[in-house]
Subunit: 190 residues, 2 copies
DNA sequence: CTTCAGCAATAACATTTGTTATCAAATCTA
DNA sequence: TAGATTTGATAACAAATGTTATTGCTGAAG
């Protein structure tokens, strides 16, 4: 599972083994809640197999705000960073195989890599990437019509559209399931 | 102008003078473009007096995505970080007094402070804060009605609502000026 | 095999929001 | 001060989007 990332990090084998051994394997059926809204996050997850969504309760409605697939990491970074209750839930959509790491171990690793210029910059880059991503979501939300957002998702993350039930996609796009259905049928007719 | 920030950074006076002397003062009338969409950003601005908006051309429409007031810094961080053309314009709304720093100087300062654990963590915190902010905007966009977003802006940044022309506010909220007008009159009637 | 829950499409109707146009007040400028 | 520009409110109509209800399909559980 971890071998594929090894080159990226350029760590000597001891450190590498130390870090990777912090991860524990687990399996979770579909619809397993990995983190509850309001709970302080203690774990981060790496997905070996499966599909996960992040969602929150927005004025009574279940609103999905992110999707994750294989080889991606999931965690409530706000909760992690500031030790505050998570504003979101993390939940499997498909039966999944995950590797998780405890916050205390991850914190230790982060403290260590901050002393290494190469890794430190990678870390900072990662945070920036997250910022840019949220920026893009936000921009797209004010700029694009729902149809444009759907087409964009289809183009950028076709796997998501294939594997994720439509009502999650709809709430991610900020529209009703009915409207998403209409958009799809409109596109088909062209 | 800079004195107020000095304690936060805990730098010795030499360094402090070195860093602050990189900033140049300038005055700009209302509607001055400080950075053009498509241009690679070379400057970051600190606002002493005035009001600035960040906007972009979204399918032909002028869409405002951020506002800045006194003592805040403005720059296209994506353009800065990756040396790519800025996706946004930066423009004064009111006549403003600004302090700007060249990217080359800022880059040098950032490289230096990354060696200082205290400042490095402050820097990383700053990036995280930006991420959290965009997250909040994004969440609010999918979760809240325009009226809720307006009330929220009124609560969180009343200065903005007072000082910024309504059509900028409307585009920031993702609605038309007419609709914003309707929302305001609806609120008044209660 | 049967049953049931989850999922998706569609229709009918209601509500929200956008567009265009008009007017009035405020502000800036020559 | 007179004229232009910016700003904001409102009305009338059009388009987009939500809500509710119905139907049929599929796959999992018993």
């Amino acid at each position: 599972m971890f071998q594929q990332f090894k080159n990226t990090f350029q760590l000597d084998t001891d450190k590498w083994d130390d870090y990777t051994s912090c991860f524990k394997r687990m399996e979770a059926p579909a619809k397993t809640i990995l983190l509850n809204e309001g709970e302080v996050s203690k774990r981060m997850f790496l997905i070996e197999k499966g599909c996960i969504r992040v969602w929150f309760n927005g004025n009574g409605k279940d609103i999905t705000c992110q999707f994750f697939l294989e080889n991606e990491t999931v965690g409530s970074i706000e909760s992690f960073r500031k030790n505050i209750p998570s504003p979101t839930n993390i939940e499997t959509i498909e039966p999944s195989i995950l590797w998780w790491i405890h916050k205390r171990d991850l914190d230790r690793i982060i403290e260590e890599i901050k002393e290494n210029p190469h890794l430190r910059d990678m870390f900072i880059d990662k945070i920036f990437d997250r910022t840019f991503n949220y920026m893009k979501y936000f921009f797209s939300m004010v700029r694009d019509t729902p149809q444009m957002r759907y087409l964009n998702l289809l183009k950028e993350r076709p796997e998501i559209v294939k594997r994720v039930p439509q009502h999650y996609i709809a709430s991610y796009l900020g529209i009703s399931t009915v409207h998403l259905s209409r958009i799809k049928s409109k596109i088909l007719k062209k």
